[in-house]
């Protein structure tokens, strides 16, 4: 098969919406959606501000099997309000993770995948979004004691704000080259610190420092895979097979503090500088 044929036959994960992404990950015929759109879970806070609502509030909770193992997939719809997280969306993710942890305490080894496609807190629901994200983080830390919680960000929205912290709590993290992962979005840094600090229009700078390839190369993600549903599914299944890591990335404070002590902070780092600092001692 020529490269062009391969490209044409590739089943893009990015082009799928949240529901379809969850379907692509779960074993055929096992997808069951919980608290779905027919429950009419419209955001009361967006409605109050005369903004567009959606019956699932932009989050899909899907239960099923992945390679035969009980799995819940939490998929954020980047196409709705920038994947922003409000009260309902965060309650769906936190609530499902809490039930997965309860399953494990009852002897059912339910595992979780979170598909991050989000700018972070939905500012129209500000403090309830932030509170909900704290609850998601709590639930990830609880569940990951039993079974891995795997984060995937495929793009094109990427993963920002409080949800990037949630991604940092995951047992394993999978990105594509199109994804970006960072705490503060370029626009916000430019607003807070000025254009000299960060030019929000400089796409090469943004992807170079925070894109999937760079994050994987500097150890802040576990894999950078092609935008291909089968490849992403295989990578996720492979990581579940590795089980809960002996030490989660978020537990490596000593390693990261030692590495950061070596960083030259007098200048703005290039992507290569970050890789050097973090990959030297396998930070």
């Amino acid at each position: 098969m020529t490269d062009i044929d391969k490209l044409l036959q590739r089943d893009s994960f990015i082009e799928r919406n949240a529901r379809s992404r969850a379907q692509a990950l779960l074993d055929p015929g096992t997808f069951r959606e919980l608290a779905g759109p027919f429950e009419r879970l419209y955001s009361p806070w967006l409605a109050m501000q005369q903004l567009v609502t959606q019956a699932d509030d932009g989050v899909v909770v899907a239960k099923g099997l992945l390679e035969g193992a009980p799995t819940v997939v939490l998929a954020i719809e980047g196409g709705f309000q920038g994947g922003s997280m409000g009260e309902i969306g965060t309650a769906k993710i936190a609530g499902a993770l809490e039930l997965a942890a309860r399953d494990n305490r009852r002897g059912i080894p339910t595992q979780a995948v979170i598909l991050f496609e989000t700018g972070g807190v939905r500012l129209q629901e500000a403090n309830l979004g932030l509170a909900g994200i704290a609850e998601i983080q709590s639930a990830i830390v609880d569940l990951r004691r039993y079974r891995p919680v795997i984060g995937v960000s495929a793009g094109t929205v990427g993963c920002y704000g409080g949800m990037s912290i949630a991604a940092g709590l995951c047992s394993w993290l999978v990105l594509t080259r199109e994804a970006r992962l960072g705490l503060n979005g370029p626009q916000v840094i430019e607003q807070e610190a000025g254009v000299a600090e960060f030019d929000a229009r400089n796409r090469a700078l943004i992807w170079g420092l925070t894109g999937g390839a760079q994050r994987a190369a500097s150890g802040l993600a576990d894999a950078c895979v092609d935008d291909d549903s089968a490849a992403i599914r295989a990578t996720v299944a492979g990581l579940f097979a590795r089980g809960v890591p002996a030490q989660h990335r978020s537990e490596r404070a000593a390693d990261y503090l030692a590495a950061l002590a070596q960083a030259d902070t007098a200048v703005q780092p290039a992507a290569a500088d970050v890789r050097t600092v973090y990959m030297k001692g396998e930070a």
């Binding site: 500000a126 404070a253 503090l257």
Partner: protein, 273 residues
Amino acid sequence: MMASTHTSRGAMWLRLLTGGAPALHDWPSVRVCDAPLNGQTARWIAVVPDPDNRFPRARNGEVGLVEGWQLAQAVQETIAQDRDAPVKRPIVAVIDVPSQAYGRREEAFGIHQALAGAAGAYAQARLAGHPVIGLIVGLAMSGAFLAHGYQANRLIALDDPGVMVHAMGKASAARVTLRTVEALEKLAEKVPPMAYDIRNFASLGILSQVLQLTNLALPDEQDLALVHGALETALQDILEDRERNLTGRLQGQHRAASRRVRQLLETQWEAAD
């Protein structure tokens, strides 16, 4: 001792509440010390300004890369020290954090991961049985609050115009939502979760106590006793609670949707198999 030229609310309250207990680390921006709470040794942690911070965007008390990982280390050390102890020492996070550090260096080196280190450590401490109390004495903003305090079993705040909780500063929030700051402020008056002030935040049901002090700038003996009393109440409350999760925050009048979603999920969870 570190001589910080800046005085922050966080630094002041940490000093007052711990009687100036010596720092356990020579870290300029993350202060950690042991001091009694209700006759028991507690670990107290605050983030304070460091005007000489190596990272220029983290000089005003922001939670940056180093601060996030130091918070993580401080909490992990506490868990490790009490690993075999039948009674886990309480952890008090004194919260006055203006924001996470906004900068290119921070994004390049993955500040999200540093903050995950801190948030994760606090959550692990809570799950391990350490009573974790967050005391909001100033700003509790966004990612900085997620990293330092939001994972506490109980949150207490001082009732004061200088005490604020929010997801993003006003100028940035206006830019991202394509509004003016004035429009944002008007909306915040009608939409409780959008407000910046502590009274509106209290209406969400996330705080366990809101404290009225007489002298906020220079707290007197009475004020100190009030705050100590509130911390002791929270500690007792946590010890009597069987839950180690955050479900106690879901009972507020403005969290009906959070409760409904969880009910639906629970009902449909088993049925999905």
